[in-house]
Structures are given as structure tokens and as C-alpha cells.
Symmetry: C2
Subunit: 236 residues, 2 copies
């Protein structure tokens, strides 16, 4: 299997073979994953020639991939100096969380208005699945994956491509902070309760309550994450 995607393995020294999907997409996916997994650390420079050697693709492809990631906000390019992994400041992180709250409120409102009963049930199911996971493990990664399933039902159910695109971008940019937030003991339990409340409001087709509960959830996650970050900064 020459073209196993480097997702689960170390991202280094894994030349990618030619599979059906455009190579550029694979490069983008690999770099995105590496950034979100902290294999590429915030602030680290991304030198084109190094990426060429490690990924085994041409400079053209690398450059297009880097620009794509830049438009997603995951990397920052400074003219004449190249790209580096974005390192959002506290202020920027807070901004991102507020934007996320506003957009996810809108998503929830649209979900209430547009989603089928099946989708509503599926959403409730993901919450219960999340509850199961958060009771049986402390693995932040597993909990994050379960939460992503929730959003995997919620966001498409809102039937808005633009909204989906924007939220995906924002969520990627705060991914690191999400992990920090959920590492806080007791936080997963609260998360389950908050999401359950959102799902119930949705089941009642109560758009206003649901979107407000969702916004409150995001804001609370923000507080937790930022608080933890400030302590980290103070320690080091």
C-alpha cells in the first residue's frame, strides 16, 4: 500500500503516491492534519524546499496548498518571507470564539427550520454517543471525535454551504484551543449537559432557545479554554 495517507502515521518522510484525488488535496489534507495534531507547531516556518522533500511533490503543488491553508487561516504567509503555522494570540482566539458563537447560533436556527425529523433524531443520538464516550474514557481525542460527529450532523442539516465553509474554517483555527478546553477536568460532563439542552430545544423546534443555548455553550467553552491558556502562559 504505497498510497496510505499519512494521517495516522508520522507525517514526515511519507511520499504520497498517485491516487485518484488531486495530489494538491492530499497535500492540503496532510498539512492540515499535521498542523492540527501539533506535529507542525505554531510559529514554525514552513520552508517550501523542505516540504518538497518530505512530501515528494513539486513546488507548484506545495505553493498552491500553502495558499489554500493560508486562506483557511491555518498558516500565515508574510510576503518575501514565506509561510508559518499560525499562532493565534489570546485576543484573536477570543475573537474567533465569538464569531463561532454567532455562526453556530445561525446554524442551529437553520437546523431547526430545515432539518428533517430523522436528522433531529440523529443529532440527539450523537449527543448520547458523546455522553457514553465521555463517561467511559478520559481520552480527549476520542471525546473530540465524538463531538465532531455532533457537528457532522448539525452543520450539514443547516443546508448552507457558505455557513458550512465559514464554520469549518473557524473550527479548524480553534481546534488547538478546543483540546485545551476539554482537558479541563469536569468540562466534558458540562459539555454533554449543554449539548443535550441544545438537542432538546431543537427537538422542540424552538429555534430561539436552541440558538441561544448553542451560543452559550460556545462562550463557555471559550472561557474555559482561554482561562487554561492564560494559566499556561503564566507558567512558562
Amino acid at each position: 500500500m504505497t498510497q496510505t495517507n499519512s494521517l495516522s502515521e508520522a507525517w514526515v518522510a511519507e511520499p504520497m503516491g498517485r491516487v485518484a484525488a488531486p495530489i494538491r488535496e492530499q497535500v492540503i489534507a496532510a498539512l492540515r492534519q499535521a498542523i492540527l495534531d501539533f506535529q507542525l507547531k505554531p510559529g514554525q516556518r514552513l520552508v517550501e524546499r523542505e516540504l518538497i522533500e518530505q512530501l515528494g511533490v513539486s513546488r507548484t503543488t506545495i505553493r498552491e496548498a500553502l495558499r489554500e491553508l493560508a486562506s483557511e487561516g491555518l498558516v500565515t504567509v508574510v510576503p518575501q518571507r514565506g509561510a508559518m503555522v499560525s499562532a493565534p494570540s489570546l485576543d484573536e482566539a477570543m475573537d474567533l470564539y465569538e464569531i463561532r458563537a454567532a455562526l453556530e447560533s445561525l446554524v442551529v436556527k437553520h437546523f431547526v427550520e430545515r432539518a428533517s425529523d430523522d436528522e433531529v433524531r440523529a443529532l440527539a443520538a450523537t449527543v448520547e454517543e458523546l455522553a457514553q464516550v465521555s463517561e467511559t474514557t478520559d481520552d480527549v481525542r476520542a471525546i473530540l471525535a465524538a463531538k465532531d460527529k455532533f457537528y457532522g450532523v448539525l452543520i450539514p442539516g443547516a443546508r448552507s454551504a457558505a455557513l458550512q465553509q465559514l464554520i469549518d474554517g473557524i473550527r479548524a483555527r480553534v481546534q488547538m484551543l478546543r483540546a485545551t478546553s476539554l482537558s479541563n477536568p469536569g468540562r466534558p460532563v458540562e459539555v454533554v449537559a449543554e449539548l443535550r439542552a441544545v438537542a432538546e430545544a431543537i427537538a422542540r423546534r424552538d429555534a430561539d432557545s436552541a440558538s441561544e443555548l448553542c451560543a452559550a455553550h460556545v462562550r463557555k467553552a471559550a472561557m474555559t479554554a482561554l482561562h487554561a491558556l492564560q494559566e499556561t502562559d503564566a507558567d512558562e
Copy 2:
């Protein structure tokens, strides 16, 4: 820049004073302008080789520029088929307007919290300037320019780079609809009244009222634009 390319005759004549933005940026700006001015019409295919000839730059540059514009939503690329000028459907346009309402609400809230008194006064001044313009001319282009000045004060005053980036993207994507909306007789007068109300609420530092008024303004603009568009579709 090493060779004689002719993005515009003007800057070729410039001896050497300007350090010059990267050519890619000039290409992006030129294409963006052409799209927003309808020189490139929605749905029109953007063939790389034609752009090369018309702009006098290499394919590398063109491709990077197209991907940038794609990430802004102004062009749509379908794999193996190339890029075309985006042509948002009615549903998509409505989505964009709702997102814009949510984000601009947030901008106004932040403006109230963060902008200086000088900025508040400058904002009010742009509204009065807009009132002047809309009374003395029917030129939609001039009115749009005046409105852009309003946003030119409002958005930076919110002190959020992420928010600014997102709103710029959304606003570009509905630019065509904005023109349609303002062409509606009587609409400019209403716009002035609505923005005046927003500015006054901001002057009172009443964040909740201001953001709600702003959202209402965007929603009303959406109604006007979409209504006009539906008629257009019905006529033709």
C-alpha cells in the same frame, strides 16, 4: 517583474519608485475588480491561457490568483474543468445575507465597545456624507462608494482581523446584489435613515440596539435585493 508585462500601462512607465506589491496581488485585484464590475459575467469561464494573454503574466501566477479568488468565493473551480465566475443562486444569496447580518451585528457590537469617540464621530460623518450623495445623485456607483466609506470606518473600528476578513469576503460575494438593491427607487432614502439610526445608537453606546438595527438593515436590504432579483428572473 523581471520582464515587460503589462498589467497596466501606468506602472510600466513608473521608472522605479514604487516597491510594488507582488504581481499576484495585482492580478487578484484586477480580476476581483473585473468580476465586481461585471466585466466578467457570472457563470463565465475563466480559461487560464486567455487570462495569461490578457494580463501578460505566467500561468503560475494566474493559477495562484484564481485559487485565492476561489477561497473568497468570487470564482468557483470544478476539478478538471477550471474556474468560472461564481453565480450565487437565490438561496445562496439569502444565506449570504443572513450570515452578513449576523457578522455585522457582531461588528457593531465590537465597535460600540472598542471604538474611540473620534471613530464614532467619523462614522456619523460618513452617514451624513452618504445622505448628501444620495440626495444629489442617482448614480448607484457613487452611493455604493459612499456606503463603503461607512463600512470603511465601521469594520476596522471593531478591531477584529478575523471578522474583517470574513465580512470582506461575504460583502464581495453579494456586491452584485447590493447594486441591484440600491437601484430600487426610494431605497437609498431608507438606507440613509437606517444607517443614521445605527450611528445614533452607536453614539449612545447602546450596543444591543445598534447591533439589532444593523441586522435589521441588512435583512431589509436582502429583502429588497432578492425581490428585485425575482422580478428580473421572471421577466427574462
